[in-house]
Symmetry: D2
Subunit: 296 residues, 4 copies
């Protein structure tokens, strides 16, 4: 297939490479010349503007951008995708943005005659490189079926979450819960250890009891519990604090728009904001446990 790809950053770059590896023809655009030339070396064609991607005889276009403002600019702006793309071309936005903005852009696409899916991912840069991302997809069943073979070149789990915007809803709801869980695990582990328990024993009990969760089992924040987790290598790598902070901000913003309280979600956002302000924005989000323990 001929596929357009906009946004070749830490996530988008390896995703576009995986499309090339799967045999697709890929036309790329990014503001960074270095990012573009890397992809061109790997076999992609360069386009010099979003509009040029849209005019390049592609069957589908994928975007991977930092925030809703960029998505709106690239899709709705002068010289953007909708102003140049032929009707019928499938549009897939894999950026993580708020559901309302996703729906607004998809509505404009529909008026333009373009089916559109929101398809944010989880799995981080490692999943992007390995082609093992999870895609949470919002849009019609028919469009989801069309997109599946494309997304399968970049990910392992392709989940249909319902209508337009619901891919973003699923991501934002899941990640808000993840942020809360991680802080909860940080508090429970810190409390147990402060009261005299061995951290590994406590983790073992929690993981076979009603406190068990992804954050306690797969990314336990207490140093030494998981030999290969971020907590045992100074919290490097993994899912960054500032990315969690961004997702919690999206969650509380979306909640405000529908007048839905998110009490722990809102508090988790503020605690990650404190932790980021203290200079830890680049650490894995499990490092939030540092708020709860005296520096050794």
């Amino acid at each position: 297939m001929n596929i357009g790809f906009l946004g070749l950053g830490n996530m988008g770059g390896p995703m576009a490479r995986n499309l090339l590896k799967a045999g697709h023809h890929v036309t790329v655009f990014d503001l960074s010349a270095a990012a573009v030339s890397g992809l061109v070396e790997a076999g992609a064609k360069e386009a010099t503007s979003p509009g040029a991607v849209a005019s390049a005889d592609v069957e589908a276009i994928i975007t991977m951008l930092p925030a809703a403002a960029h998505v709106k600019q690239v899709y709705l702006g002068d010289g953007g995708l909708l102003a140049n793309v032929p009707s019928g071309v499938l549009l897939i936005d894999s950026s993580t943005i708020d559901p309302m903005s996703a729906r607004e852009v998809a509505e404009a696409a529909a008026k333009n005659g373009n089916p559109m899916l929101d398809a944010p991912v989880s799995g981080g840069t490692i999943g992007a490189a390995a082609g093992t991302l999870t895609f949470m997809v919002g849009g019609s069943e028919a469009d989801f079926q069309k997109a599946q073979p494309i997304l399968a070149a970049m990910g392992k789990n392709i989940v249909h979450c319902g209508d337009t915007g619901n891919g973003q809803v699923a991501k934002v709801a899941n990640n808000m819960l993840l942020g809360i869980s991680m802080i909860g695990v940080a508090e429970a582990m810190s409390l147990g250890v402060a009261l005299g328990m061995d951290a590994k024993v406590l983790a073992g009990i929690i993981n076979s009891s009603s406190g068990r969760c992804w954050a306690s089992e797969i990314n336990n924040p207490f140093p030494g519990v998981l030999e290969n987790g971020p907590a045992s290598r100074g919290y490097s790598g993994g899912f960054g604090t500032d990315l969690m902070l961004k997702d919690l901000g999206l969650a509380s913003e979306a909640a405000k728009q529908v007048r839905q309280p998110v009490i722990l979600g809102g508090l988790a956002q503020q605690l990650y904001q404190v932790f980021s302000m203290q200079g830890h924005g680049g650490l894995d989000f499990s490092a939030i446990i540092k708020l709860y323990r005296q520096e050794d």
Copy 2:
């Protein structure tokens, strides 16, 4: 074996019955005559005071009491267990109390020449009746080995959590995390549905993603997601709101004693307090989701 048992309430009653079923001789005490006569019909011997249990030629004594004040009274009070029990008799307290009090009583027992274990349970009244409780046990390895066959008559998982008090620590840390997780799931599910997602689809995604936890998988608070869960039968049965509130109070109290912050844990306690004040103390603790949704 000859075993003493004090505290024949909703939990203690069925636990003592399971000891009888396993062939043990059980001498019981409770302030409620009805509770005692029920056990006597099932084959137990009656004692008229804690001291009388202690003097009844028992090899081990188990207590299952509502709070630390009762435990201190029964063990340390005039006419209590320690004043009457021969040295060497094994003492097992299955009450859920704060770790500091558990250690204080165990220390007094040790001075009296009695090995003592703290062994709080999880599994609720259903687990107590079925003999499938989990015991979280604090004390020496040797004492744990001695207690195991006794506890095995009442439970399925008997976990050694380390030294004296650590059974209570494990329970309080696990249950604090459980309370936080449940509210987190309540918020994530409510948010996703308010933003337009189907509750079952959202639960499915969370349960295969990084938000998954016991509260989302086994006791999802959103009505209709789990056919047989409390949420689908008006939140009856299960683990009561007021019991969760008690455990969160123990957690924040223990945290205060060791000067350990528990920010989400403390907020979860207050939210359960609000919910209990509104008259919902008897509902399953997953009913906290009612705080987040308009009454239908």
Copy 3:
């Protein structure tokens, strides 16, 4: 002076009337014909669009609109103020919006050759009618001096808060603190009464001690403490819960933009969101105490 006025709602209507009473010539615009005709009866001239106000030979234009989206539309949209207003005309926005948006609009105004002030108010509909509003004004000293006689026709305290946007900053910071204080007073009063104190005695002690604040002295939320306060008339009138909720939303949004944690501010927002969801959005914001007390 010839003054334009856009936005004739509960606040803007009486404000425009006070300008007329002070002898100014006022040209008005609102989407509601009824609102416009009321002002025309009082002596105002009608304009049929924002652009028409801008072209009506006015020396200053005041806007009083519900949210940032409306402000941007009215100032920056096609047919809006900036596209039609002659350079030099003084622009005053009295809407309560986030500081970033206020600065964005003021910058566009400056490029257009128009001095602009942000001048949000406090004092509510009663203050608007009585001409006793407080104006918190952001912009240059010179522009502030020019605006003062105009604002003095509508308010009693005209405070210069510094450069552009700082009027909004002052309002959002003050009102976030007010929301926190009100909940704090609600908790302290509820706690004291639950522990056995008389509410009036407790309020008296707080008001002469270090807990005293505007919320305890002027708008004590406990029924019966202040004879003429909202709490003693079923929480009718006053500053509505949904307005407080809006301001707390502006505060947390502005905080996010500058990466500033506001932990209690964020929690206050969520608690007001819960209270609004329960159907109390129209009550005075002191009614939040209902979250803390069983219904009588």
Copy 4:
């Protein structure tokens, strides 16, 4: 009058001195020999045990102790006050403890034939030395009248708060509100400055608006706003973080006992716990603003 005084620490020492200055005969006891000898030099008589104070022909006894456990020990313990004091002697406990404990001790005193008042203070060590403390007094009107001349030698405001325990209730409710207010001011000031305002201008606006409170006016936490406040001298002196933390702990404990939610109060406690854990327990409680600002 002949007065007994137990507890000669940072507060009790200067309070006992003021009784001597006012011409009373004072018999003192403290575990610290140095504290006792200081008072003896100032004219006091030494007693070698609480019971000895009680037997020393005194008309009233004042206690100033760190926590409820000490109060119970001194009043109710073997060789304590109640076991030795003649009936009719007036007992005044100025310690800050939870209201339930205060009522428990007062009840025991009543059975012993001794009128008892709880009379915790505010005003800190400076107020203790200057004799300008505020006493919040719980007990009968008649006993309050008897105590007033004694307390007047040590304080300026002597407030009757109602029946037994209500002195403690007033203090705990007021100080919980104070802790919340201080954090609220810290957040509002930090937010305003982060958004571009001058701290003094912002403080001035808040102090003439609805956000004003003791914490913003008298002990503004932002450095430089008040020339002589703790914030302008590195947060030395004043009311210590660990004392605020203690009072917030008493508030949430008392709230738990009466099943009263204190959501912001509980969160304030946890935030002060974080701040104390970071090593700031000795700073004035306004230093909590450091949680909200990057170290300069």
